[in-house]
Amino acid sequence: MATLDGSSVKKLIVACDAGMGSSVMLASTLKKQLKGNDVIVEHSPVATIPQDADVVVTQASLADRARGVVPNVPVVPFNLFLGDPAVTRVVKAIQSGDSIEV
């Protein structure tokens, strides 16, 4: 568990294995949802997640790999590409500036 301070998130990374398909789709969706929140949303292969990320969302099966790449960054695993509650919580925390446990 880690604490994610929604108000401090400036860079959100969506990570998947190839950075080719699913992460692209989720990143574009999150970018729309976070429009106006001054957050950079990028997609990335899990192996090259940028170290300056503030939070990483990734498929549950890739979460351990993601934590290995950026051990100091909160990693939020998800199971559904559309409407996953874990991702929705992160979006809400960023929008409201609240802190959540992830």
């Binding site: 190839a18 699913s22 692209v24 789709m25 990143a27 574009s28 997609h43 099966s61 890739l62 559904l80």
Partner: protein, 157 residues
């Protein structure tokens, strides 16, 4: 990183849209998507193995009866150009317990496909549009749904 917008019909050629496909399994569907990418000249044949590997490790089911089979990071070397294919399975395909009616195969080494995937994401968030895609019986209907509504979706940041 700059992004060039590839015309939809270049990325997803009319000949790469199969609206009456049939597959006996998820693997069969992925292989068919791979074969269509191969026929489009977008990949080397080894990419199809990468697609199957990726599917075996993490499903590419994205919801609303849609899957987006694509390769792995290692498989990227087998990609010759950015291209997509769309296969519609009117009878559905069992995708680890989910029913898939649309498989969109992706080969990408650049960012030419990002606008199209962004548009696909917004379609899937609107149930009636997702249903229209699942029920599309003409390539024109597919193109109309996938034509980007806005061009400011630089998902690369």
């Amino acid at each position: 990183m700059s992004e060039t917008t590839t015309p939809l019909t270049d990325l997803l050629a009319e000949s790469s849209i199969q609206l009456d496909a049939h597959a006996s399994s998820k693997e069969d569907a992925v292989e068919q998507a791979g074969a269509a990418l191969l026929a489009a000249g977008a990949i080397d044949a080894s990419y199809i193995d990468a697609m199957l590997q990726r599917e075996a490790s993490v499903s590419t089911f994205v919801g609303e009866g849609v899957a987006i089979p694509h390769g792995t990071l290692a498989g990227k070397e087998a990609v010759k150009r950015d291209a997509l294919v769309l296969l519609r399975f009117p009878d559905g395909v069992d995708w680890d317990g989910n029913e898939v009616k649309i498989a969109i195969g992706i080969a990408a080494k650049g960012n030419g496909h990002i606008a199209l995937l962004s548009q696909l994401a917004s379609i899937l968030l609107e149930p009636e549009k997702a249903a229209a895609l699942r029920e599309a019986t003409t390539t024109q209907a597919v193109y109309e749904l996938l034509a980007s509504e806005d061009d400011d979706d630089d998902a690369n940041g």
